[in-house]
Symmetry: C2
Subunit: 165 residues, 2 copies
């Protein structure tokens, strides 16, 4: 396989995988592009490389900056903005986990907390509460572990994983 072909494959595949990861195709593609680009790229270069519109490029670059996966660079004497990607895969994982946790896990925690307030007056309610509380238990545990994960250094989790496997 040739390098540019491999990069192209990576970008396309990362885009597809993004879909199942709750990240839209273009956002994942921009991320992949910047991940394998040696130099920072302008909006126009990104539009060109991925064959997408200006608006689409802009929105997804902003989203990636929001996520902390992409950064701006201002070149001296240049008006336009350039962008480069976070290259540290560990940090990339952290950021993605952080965002997915916010979007997918936190709402569950709040929901279950609310639902626990149901008046516990009979067996049927107890049974419902038991389900809710079981879910809550796992959700809170997962939440805590992921918090640690995004706050600690790479070795913490690597050691944990090694111990586990």
């Amino acid at each position: 396989m040739e390098l540019n072909e491999a990069k192209e494959t990576f970008i396309q595949a990362w885009g597809n995988l993004g879909s199942s990861w709750g990240i839209n195709r273009t956002m994942a593609q921009v991320h992949a592009l910047l991940l394998v680009s040696k130099d920072s790229l302008s909006s126009d270069e990104i539009m060109e490389a991925l064959d997408i519109s200006r608006g689409n490029a802009n929105m997804n670059i902003r989203a990636l900056i929001e996520w902390g996966l992409v950064f701006k660079e201002n070149k001296v004497g240049e008006r336009r903005e350039y962008f480069y990607g976070e290259k540290d895969v560990w940090r990339i994982m952290q950021k993605i986990i952080e965002q997915r946790k916010k979007k997918e896990l936190n709402p569950i925690v709040y929901l279950l907390d609310d639902l626990s307030q149901v008046e516990n007056k009979n067996d049927e309610v107890s049974e419902f509460l038991s389900v809710i509380q079981d879910i809550q238990y796992f959700a809170l545990k997962t939440d805590k572990v992921l918090d640690k994960l995004v706050n600690k250094d790479p070795n913490w989790i690597v050691n944990l994983l090694l111990k586990a496997v």
Copy 2:
């Protein structure tokens, strides 16, 4: 809050959350409904409770059975099928992890394996390979941990999590 109100809230919220979890709204709702239903329900009862069409109900019940989150029950002297949900929250987590791993993680592992085959003839390629291999490293680690997770008993992970936090 009253029980039926709480159940209704749970079903609706679980449906919405399903979306961000890569599970479609109806599938998540059917799952939630069966999770908080004392008795098993027929297709018609599910259609009625969630106000969805026969086709929709059928497809999502099948998908849930496929995932191992819902089971059939045949009542004696009754033609129609009844369905009940997996109530063990630990097993539910296992099944969901199993499916998401299959859909989200495995493709990455295969992709990276492929991309590693790029001919390593110069520095630019080395740099690309380094990114790919970093991702591969984390992907494989995560893959292994999740494998353990779905094969071991609840205490294994709970202990691990406790140790970690």
